[in-house]
Amino acid sequence: MRESRARYLAALALACVAAAAWLLPYAWMVLTSFKTLPEIVAHPTAPLPEHLDTGAYRVVFATIPVARYMGVTIFMALAIAALQIALALPAGYALAKLRYAGRGFTFGVVLACLLVPAQATFVPVFLLFAKARLVDTMTALVLPFAASALGTFLVRQALLGIPDEMIEAARMDGASEWTIVYRVLAPMLKPTLVSLFLVSFVFHYNDYFWPLVMTTDDDVRTLPLGVALLREQGTGVRWHIVMAGNVVLSLPVLALFAVAQKHLVRAVGGRG
């Protein structure tokens, strides 16, 4: 069932259109970031900058503390991803492998939380953190996501596929339950854990909503907030500066995507 040459060429042409629809906006973003204000005013729609001017990037770095925002953002995303995995492993183990009264109920609690997004909880959680004087702290950014219902669920599913005999054998060897969870089972779940870690890291690095509602000052502001602020502060035509900020914000995730594309695609596509 080989494809005819004409059909293949048609597919190739359509694929080029798709590539253009998704890549040209990025190209516009990068090219605009190298323009200057007089250029944009004089020739707003000239496709290419007259020369590669890095002035916009210098303005970005002078306007917002990029290094600190980036540091806060990466620390937050790493902390969340690491905590989610550290907590999901024992929880998933208990749900998948241990028999105890209340297992169905506890699994139900985890499943129920899958249905509740942060957008439905932020008002009460904000009030809670305001009362505890924790607004504007790393705690408010990390703690609500330290346990992941989805992560727990996925670890449980993955552990169901590991035979009980493995665990029996480890117990016979005198391994403690914690050793079994973190030293014996975790390495066996590596593909699941890597996907979980990457998806969680990317999601929270990119997240705009939660840091926006949980922070009001500079100390724990994240990079997406800072870049969005670039436009709020600027007048309408300073697109070169906004796009420079955009490039700075997007490069780390795009680099990560380039390196770990297989994992991210598998995590999103599932096992089909």
Partner: protein, 291 residues
Amino acid sequence: MRPRAPWHPWAMLGPTLALLVVFFLLPIGVAACASVFSWDMLTPPRYVGAANYAALAAHGQLLAIALRTLGYSAIVVAGTMTLGLGLALLLDRPGRFFGFVRASVFSAYVVSWVAVALLWMGLLDGNAGVVGWVARQVGAGSLSLLGDPRWALPTLAVVGVWKLTGYSMIVFLAGLQGVPRSLLEAAALDGAGALGRFRHVTMPLLLPTASFVATTSLVTSFQAFDVVRIMTQGGPARGTELFVYAIYEQIFLNLSVGRASALTVVFFVLLLAVAGLQLRVWRARGAGAAR
């Protein structure tokens, strides 16, 4: 397996359960309680019964928010599913070039909403943007899609489609791997053309995948906030005030905890209806995968 000590399961689940209950289950209850009070976070709360709900429902405001959100979701779901399926069929071919195009489309899903929203604001800008330039070339004059109450919401939805098509494409591609080549070849031997093979072999086998994509996209788009906050702030003339943004406005701009909570409760109930649907689809998908 028997736990070695009866407290082991609880020690292992404890932190997870405690955090999930505190940050995901209790808040819904707290919102329900707070929704019957009037509170501005400065003066003491005052019990008002259902007044918050009544005030929101007055002049059809609540209904308008719900319909607007559903309208946004409808465009996003229809758009991402059509494009995602089309691209999956188109790009499910061997070779580096097709792989590169797949990665390009999917990259928009990986990049932050902030970057995507700002990028499209630039592209849509009447002066400097590409869309404004095209409009001038075809003689449409100065066009401001985001400034027009009729066009702002569909425009946001199109940005959403651009961002999320990569997701549905990837899930459809995974689904396509589950369509056995032998079946397609058998159909071809029986004289089925490309269209016939799609209609009678691929499509029925992709149906569980399609309903999975539809429900997850519906839930995701129903929670849209970032595009609104960044691109339109709910305007013009409230034309893009979606649910989550309306909640945000109530608590942070109007300082009305009661109304924000009432909106949260309604939002959650609607979401539950949608998510209940999603869970049924997931079950069906799980059963399909185990087949």
